[in-house]
């Protein structure tokens, strides 16, 4: 069967600036780099098609990182810090806060409809959040990116970074439509992919398994290529578990903030205000609002709702329409049941845990210019660590910050050689799953096994998100075994081959996640990271970052600790 691998067509490309992922971070990076220097050669790699890829495929109905009137970058920083239990990279969050309104102005200039009040101000939905009508946000960003004349390579799955000693000098990938192997040599590389969904068993099963909140097509490739290349990663243990509308797992902001619906339990009690005032009532941190909701269910007062029964029929229909900009399935959900939000208030539940730096803060350990610990490798958006609650506008801001640094450095970066042996090895690693084997495991089977292990032993939905050392040690053991099984993954076509690599990538993310969860011996972020064996928050010993570096040759994950610095100290 050596034949098949020998027949793979190899396409070699060269660029100055390689961007992996054509989402908010990647597209804004391309825009900013071309604005600063139109002569720079930029290539964007995209797994799907730039017009409708990733989290933004369906659209957005709000921009959630925005400095609203009366707020400032300083107050935004304070808010994010409080919401994240004081452990954040203040320098990164502050630099994002200074940039987000600039991003929103650009989006509006490119065509994003942002409704305005009589004073010409956007409608403020909640602290740091404004309403937009963003069903078309991704095509709008794509169009602006195309206008810069950056080159876009759609339907290419990234498989690994190319390294020459400690320097990153490009990336490998394969085309899901053309079946080619791509070798892309670059002076600087920006990883700007999405985070990772599908690591844990989701809320729904069978035909509904992808009715999940975060894009099921964001499968952690951006993390995995960094992990395998030995880049330092941070705070994977701050998983993101989201409070969402049951069944469709739709975001709740439009209901909770948009139409001011209160969280109520089955008895109609406004439990946040009535029972959990000591946690801050309605202004408690995001994680605690979900914790309180789960607690109501445990104590027999579920289900919980976002109470929309105060809406008029017209308001209810407007709310339905509002979801067409983000989760059109929810509009259909009410429609198919013949109900509307005023008579059928949405139930709220917790999602499965996701690993995502845009909401929580798992990701590459980066400096203020978004450079990782590997030379010439940068990260922005969902894969960049240390800066939670950045969302669309913050991801775009990070892309722009990284682009500025890269543009200023490009001249001084020498082209590094790509070794033929590395190309040969990667072709074999990537395409060997197309060859017949004695044992053949399908990617779907391996995915289910991985999700079950993580659900059972690493704090998934069915274990109430609770973690302890004994269970985590089992998760470590089983995931390690599963990584061996992954060698037997079998694909019949390039689409299935993509799915093989998605599950391989997620196993690498899961391995790092487990080590982070094991190391933090306190409970910093309830639900996101609830250690039953260390139930208290311990600022004395643990107000610091847990980081890791993977050594591929030894197959070992080394844990490092980094201090948490105040902004003044960083300045």
């Amino acid at each position: 069967m050596q034949n098949l691998i020998d027949k793979i067509k190899i396409e070699k490309l060269k660029t100055d600036f390689l961007i992996i992922g054509a989402g908010a971070a990647g597209c804004f990076a391309a825009y900013e780099a071309k604005r600063l220097n139109p002569n720079i050669d930029i290539l964007i790699l995209e797994k799907a098609h730039i017009a409708r890829s990733g989290c933004l495929a369906a659209g957005v109905n709000a921009i959630n990182a925005y400095i609203t009137p009366g707020q400032s970058p300083e107050s935004f920083l304070e808010y994010v810090k409080k919401d994240s239990m004081d452990l954040i990279r203040e320098d990164l969050v502050y630099s994002i806060a200074k940039e987000v309104n600039n991003v929103v102005n650009l989006l509006e200039e490119w065509g994003l409809p942002i409704p305005k009040d009589e004073n010409g101000q956007p409608y403020v939905r909640g602290r740091g959040s404004i309403i937009v009508q963003g069903e078309r946000v991704k095509p709008i960003i794509a169009q602006a990116t195309k206008n810069t004349k950056a080159k876009i390579l759609n339907r290419v799955v990234v498989t690994n970074l190319i390294k020459n000693k400690n320097k990153v000098c490009g990336a490998f990938g394969f085309g899901v439509r053309d079946g080619k192997f791509y070798v892309i040599q670059a002076k600087a590389v920006l990883v700007a992919t999405g985070g990772a969904s599908g690591i844990y068993k989701p809320n729904n099963e069978g035909e509904a398994k992808h009715k999940i909140w975060y894009s099921p097509f964001n499968t952690g490739a951006g993390y995995a290529i960094g992990i395998r290349a030995g880049a330092e990663m941070t705070t994977f243990e701050m998983r993101y578990v989201s409070m969402r509308i049951k069944d469709l797992m739709a975001p709740t902001g439009a209901v909770a903030q948009g139409v001011k619906a209160k969280q109520v339990n089955a008895l109609g009690e406004r439990y946040l205000e009535e029972r959990y005032v000591y946690l801050g009532g309605t202004s408690m941190p995001t994680a605690m609002r979900l914790w309180a909701t789960l607690q109501e269910n445990i104590e027999g007062r579920g289900p919980c709702y976002l109470d929309t029964t105060h809406l008029t029929r017209e308001q209810a229909e407007r709310l339905q329409a509002y979801y067409l900009h983000m989760t059109p399935g929810l509009t259909l959900y009410w429609g198919a049941r013949g109900t509307k939000p005023d008579t059928d208030p949405p139930e709220i539940v917790g999602t499965e845990p996701y690993i995502v730096g845009g909401h929580a803060q798992a990701g590459y350990w980066i400096d203020i210019n978004r450079m990782s610990t590997l030379e010439n490798l940068y990260a922005a958006g969902d894969v960049a660590g240390g800066a939670p609650k950045k969302y669309l506008s913050g991801a775009a801001a990070e892309g722009m910050i990284a682009a500025r640094e890269i543009v200023s450095k490009l001249k001084s970066i020498n082209e590094e050689q790509v070794y033929e042996k590395d190309i040969k090895d990667e072709v074999k690693r990537v395409f060997s799953h197309l060859e017949k084997k004695n044992i053949e495991i399908l990617p779907d089977e391996l995915e289910l096994r991985m999700q079950k292990i993580m659900d059972d032993y690493a704090g998934g939905i069915s274990s109430g998100y609770i973690l302890n050392e004994q269970k985590l040690l089992k998760a470590r053991k089983y995931i390690k075994e599963l990584k061996q099984e992954a060698n037997n993954l079998y694909a019949i076509n390039p689409h299935e081959l993509m799915k093989c690599h998605e599950v391989i990538d997620r196993l690498d993310v899961a391995s790092v996640l487990i080590e982070h969860l094991l190391h933090r011996k306190e409970t910093r972020w309830p639900i996101y990271q609830s250690r039953a064996d260390y139930p208290e928050r311990d600022d004395k010993n643990w107000l610091k970052f847990v980081n890791s570096v993977y050594d591929q040759t030894k197959d070992e994950i080394k844990i490092l600790e980094r201090p948490c610095k105040k902004l003044e100290a960083v300045k």
Binding site: L43, G111, H210, G329, G335
Partner: protein, 140 residues
Amino acid sequence: MGIYIDQNLCNSCGYPQSETPCNMACPGDLIFMQLNGKAQITSNAECWDCAACIKICPQQAIDIRLPFEIVGKEGTLKARAYREKTIWTVKDEKGNEQIFETPARNDASLETLINPEEFSDTIDSYKGISKSFVDLGLDI
């Protein structure tokens, strides 16, 4: 399930000479062309309900149907994407319709962007046009 592609309405959009809009739009690479030239979804269980394909299909051959296990009712969602707006039709199982209209682009941008090539996300840009496979890297 996720989407239903009406095999009688699908007219192949010029395939195999061009990439079809639905095939281009799906963020999960889930839509493929069958030997008879008609579009089909590989696995409905993997559909995210993002609606990218239903909005762009020039034949309006695609609709979203939610899995029975989470709704317990049948119902369909259709949509048409125009440059400035999207028109949505929700139908319950008795056939009762609800129509919604959502803005797609703000007025200022519509005035400045006049090249139809720039609107590859809308139905009107595909009518009668056979696009070539520009997005497979040939533009490099």
